[in-house]
Structure formats: structure tokens, C-alpha cells
Amino acid sequence: MTAARARAWVLWLLLFALATVAMRLVRSNIDQAHAVLAYLLIVLGGSVAGGRPLGISLAGMATLAINYFFQAPLDTLSVAKPPDGLVLLAFLATAVTTTQLLALARSEAEEARRRADEVTRLAYLGSETLNAGTAEAALGAIARVIRDELRVDTCLIRRLVDGRKEVVASAGAAPRARDVSRLEIPLTGHDVELGALELQHPTPIAVDEPQRRFLDALGYYAALGLERMQLAAEAAHADALREADRMKDILLASVSHDLRTPLTTIKAMAQDGALRGDENSAIIEEQADRLSRLVSDLLDLSRMKGGTLHLSPELNAAEDVIGAVARQFAGTTSGARLVTAVDLSQPALFGYFDFVHTLRILGNLVENALRYAPADTPVELGVTTAGEMLAFTVADRGPGVPAPEVERIFEPFHRSPGARNDGGAGLGLSIARRLAEEQGGDVRYAPRAGGGSVFTLLLPACDPQAEEIA
């Protein structure tokens, strides 16, 4: 019992005695109702000041005092008339009930204050831990707070990294592998497991309800800390990747410039010689073109692998890109064999694709077809729709592709057995397919009826009529 409680008992018992003596002295002038009301006040005051035990004690004593001193027959504990018994009963019931209600209200107020204190403390701890300079420092602070609060030997926070849980913060005694009782609480953030909180103590760890709430709250902070660590790690990784990308871009740009400048000169000089009828110069020019294509292919492939390829898909007409392919091959000797087939009786077909990259895809497919098809056969370039897709077809009368080779022809540097070594590095088809895939399309091979190959480029179709034309 606290000193305040003891003082309350002494004070209110004294008041009770004084009131009893005073009322006894003026007994002839007062009614028992006056005594009842006076005692009720004392019971109420006593329960407020001293709590339920004092209230109930006072109620009991007051009941006896009313009966003894103020009810006829006076100065005895007997009840003569039934209404007097009712008065006593009513007094006792009222006094006890109010005492109980007061006590209840008091304990609720106390509980509320305790909860408020708890919340304030958690908020303070939360801001304390989250304000720590680094996520690691915050987790260290959380571990210390938990250890101190729960009075356990050790508190560990583990972070899930690549399937393993690594200790990122600990407080207290060195963690032990055995002879210790543990309590593990998983830490999750946005429904993803981030790690775990582990308590270790030589004796079994019991956690009561407030402690559980405390652990839950701090566990939440710890999860936030782990998330922060993860974000920081990802940001650092992204920075490194960006830097690597930047270096790659610089390297590509400089390689591309440094190779292209001599190639430009060689080609120009050789063409000059070839125009004057020098056969050797013509061969040099041809080889310079070949080298230039190879450089472009390698740069493209590395751009695609590095993810630095820039796509700008737009509404484009299928026949526009077919015309551009035809124009690209118009100057070459083999280009005369390219036949374009566009059905002009039908409305023009449109798609949503990157014009430059699509031109490159079709250019590679046509070049491939011209290389493998016999020199006296045409290569046909056309377009149709296939459901939601545009289907560009490049058909030749070449030897076709044997079934086991079909998927391998799209691998970089693949060359069909027996292929003529006349300029391709085996990159054309793989670049074509990758560029198509980047645009939500594909390049497919099928044998052609009557012999030969059909390569189909699929790209998303688009109907400009469906939208309003300005």
C-alpha cells in the first residue's frame, strides 16, 4: 500500500468517526435519512481517495453505524421495522455500487494513461530509430531498445539476402547457437519477407500482452529499417549499372567513331579508284562495306544486350517501310531480284513500330534471302495482316533451313553448314529477331511451299481509321 493510500485510509476513517460522533450528539434533532446521506458522502469521498477497499469498508461500517445509532431501537443492532431494513439494504447497495463504478472508471482512466504513455514511448523510439543516420544504426538502436525493454540477453535482427538470413544488427551478449531459449518474429514489409527478429535468453522467454504489442511495433520499425537497407542497396546497384551503361555508351561511341572514320576514307578512296576502272579498288570497297556492316552489327548487338537501344514506336504505314527497303537495295546488283508485293486494291496497312529498326529487320531478312537464294530467282517482300499483327513476309527459292537448324539460325554468329562465306557474320537474323521482340513482335521461319524459305516479321498492327484523323 502506498503512502497516499494509507493517508486516505486514516483521513477518511477519522472523518467517519467524527461524523458519527457529531451526528450522535445531535441525534434527537436529525432523522435517519440525514445520517444516510452524510454516510453516503463519506463512502463516495473514501472510494475516490482510497479506492475500492476503503469504499467498501466505509460502506459496511456506515451500514452498521446507521443501524446502531440512528434506527429504533437505538443503540442496538436489531431491526424493528421492515422499512428500516430496506433503508439499510438500499444504503449498502448504493454505496457498494457507486464504489464499484468509481473504481472501474478509475482503472479505465489508468489503463488509458498507461496506453498513452506506451504509444508516446513507441513513437519516441520510432522517431529515434528512424532518424538514425543509416539503416544499420537504426536497426542497432532497435535491437538495443528491445533487449533492454524485454530484459533478454541478446536481441538479433537478421536480413534476408539471397535466401540466407544475415545478422545486420545485434545487442547484448554474443549470440549462441545452443543452450539458449529463442523467440523468433518474422519481419515483413508489403507482404514480402524481409528478415527476422530473434531474442535469446538462458531461461524460457515469456512475453505478456503489452510486451507483445511493444515487440510488434518495434518489429514494424525494424522491417522499415530492413526495407531502407534494401532500397539503399538497390540504389547503389542502380548507380553502378548506370555508370557501367554510361561507360559502355562512351566506349561504343568512340569505337564506332574511331572505326568509321578510317572506313569512310577507305571506302571513298577505293570507290574513287573503282570508278577509274581499278578492279582491286572495287574489291577494297566491297570489303570496306563488309567491315562496316560487321561493325554496325556488333555495335547493335552490344547495344541490345546492354539495353541501350532506343526505340521510338509510332504509327507507320507498312508500304512505307517496304518502299524504304526496296530503296536500300535499289543500288546493288543483287537488289534487282527483290520483288515487292503490296496489294494496292486494299486499304493501306498500318502498324505501331519503330521505322528505323523495322527497316533494319527487313533489310537483314532480305539480305539473308538474297545471299542464300540462287542468283536467278527473285526474293519476294510483302505484307498482310495476321489477327492483331502485321505480317511482313520475305520469301525466297533458296535451299531452305533443315528442321534441326531452325531455331539455331536465330543465334548470334550461327552459320549454316555449307554457307558461302561472303560477308555475313551470322548476326543478321539474330539482330532481326531481337529488334522484333523489342517491339512486341517476332521473326519466324517456315519452309515455303514449292521449296525455299519464308521469314515472317510480326509487328503490332494499328488501324488509323479507328481513331479520328485530324
Binding site: T261, K267, E314, E319, A324, R327
Partner: protein
């Protein structure tokens, strides 16, 4: 701009008094000099952007060939500077994968570009086309009827015909054709054509330029799948090619 291209007098092979080559690589300058020797009296060389601007201002060449990979300044800045006082054609030498760069240079006033490594024949033809265009701009107006590959375009009466057959164009198709024809031989970016035809229209009908070009070609080209008059510069824009 009211350019007129004379169909009556087949343009004599145009010659330049002076060509200026701005390139930091001596070998490329030499290749350009070789490619142009038949059409220029004098080829001046500048190894940096600043030197090029100074030389262009003092010599006022008929054509400028500008490489984009200059060590001292961006090609765009050279182009912008020259355009402050000069109207001579600027032909840009650029690398592949630089469509955006080409577009921004054309928008800044460059007239055409050639991708490295280039064919000297193709390069020569492009420079010649620019010279012809520039000289016809300077010369007296010779009528407002343009013919090319059997197509007759009357810019004043707004009539297009092939042989005896009149071709009906929608107003937008006509505006596109007129824009391209009056800049014949010059690559216009999508943006330039759009600005000329639509002006300041809100919304984004720019992508429909492709739709209108497709419709236009189906009306004026003899083989729309292999256009000879309105050719596509991939990723950059379109060009009207007058008959050589």
C-alpha cells in the same frame, strides 16, 4: 518560299565556285575533296567548328559540308551560327544511330545529311542536288509548274496530273505535296512538314502525317510501294526528289 523548278530546261550539271568542308579528320576532308572535285572550282577546308564558321563568313561558300563529330563544338552550334547570316546549303556528315541528331540539325536549318561511311557517288549527288536547288532559288523565277517522272504539279492553279489524267488531292495532301515540292531535293523533318501543313493546331495529328503521305503516294506515285517522288528518309522525314 516560292520556289519554281523549270521543267523546260533540264538543269545543267550545277557547279560550285567554292565548297567548304568542316571536318577534323584530314582523310575525310580529302575524300570529300575527291568526291566534289568535278563540281567545285575550289574546296576550302576547316579542321574545327570555329575555324569553319570564320571561313564560311569570309569566303561565303556555295555549299558547306559539316561533320558532326567536331572536337571543339557541337555541329548543331556551327549550323545555328552559320544560319544567323548565311543561306547556303549545309550538308551534314553523320554517324548511324543518330536520327535524333539529324532531325535536330535539319530543324536548325541544315539541308541534307549523308551517313558515314558514305558512297562518294551518293554524296556527290546529294551535294549537286543542293547546289541546283540553291542556284535556282537565286535565279529568276521560271514558272510555277513542276514536272517529275511524268507527274505535273501546277503550284499556282493547285493542279496535279499524270499524262492526261487529273489527280484529285485532299487539301491536306495538296499542302503536304506543295511543301515537299517547294523544298525539292531537301529532306524535311516530320516536324517541319507538320508545321508547314497544320501550323499551330492543338492536339497531335502529327502521327497522321504518315497516313496522309501513304494516301498521297497511292495517288501520285507510279508504284506506291517503291516511291520515286516522295521518298522516306528513315527516322528523319521525307524528301521530294526532282528528276535528275
Amino acid at each position: 518560299m516560292t520556289l519554281t523548278e523549270s521543267p523546260a530546261t533540264p538543269a545543267a550539271a550545277p557547279r560550285a565556285r567554292t565548297v567548304l568542308v568542316i571536318d577534323d579528320e584530314i582523310q575525310i576532308r580529302r575524300a570529300v575533296r575527291n568526291a566534289l572535285r568535278d563540281m567545285a572550282d575550289d574546296v576550302l577546308e576547316a579542321a574545327s567548328g570555329q575555324e569553319g564558321i570564320d571561313l564560311a563568313a569570309s569566303a561565303m561558300p556555295d555549299v558547306i559540308v559539316l561533320d558532326l563529330g567536331l572536337p571543339d563544338m557541337a555541329g548543331a552550334d556551327v549550323c545555328r551560327e552559320v544560319r544567323r547570316w548565311g543561306t547556303m546549303p549545309i550538308v551534314v556528315l553523320s554517324a548511324r544511330h543518330a536520327e535524333q541528331e539529324k532531325v535536330s540539325l535539319l530543324n536548325l536549318g541544315a539541308d541534307d545529311y549523308v551517313t558515314k561511311p558514305f558512297s562518294t557517288l551518293e554524296f556527290g549527288a546529294r551535294v549537286r542536288a543542293q547546289l541546283r536547288r540553291y542556284q535556282s532559288l537565286a535565279g529568276p523565277a521560271q514558272g510555277a509548274v513542276v514536272t517529275a517522272r511524268g507527274l505535273t504539279i501546277d503550284l499556282v492553279r493547285r493542279r496535279v496530273s499524270r499524262g492526261q489524267g487529273a489527280i484529285h488531292l485532299t487539301p491536306i495532301e495538296w499542302d503536304i505535296l506543295r511543301t515537299l515540292v517547294t523544298a525539292a531535293g531537301r529532306t524535311l523533318t516530320h516536324q517541319q512538314i507538320f508545321d508547314a501543313v497544320w501550323g499551330r493546331v492543338f492536339g497531335n495529328p502529327q502521327q497522321y502525317l504518315r497516313v496522309h503521305i501513304t494516301n498521297l503516294r497511292r495517288k501520285i506515285e507510279s508504284d506506291p510501294s517503291r516511291p520515286q517522288l516522295v521518298v522516306t528518309e528513315p527516322g528523319v522525314g521525307y524528301r521530294f526528289e526532282p528528276e535528275e
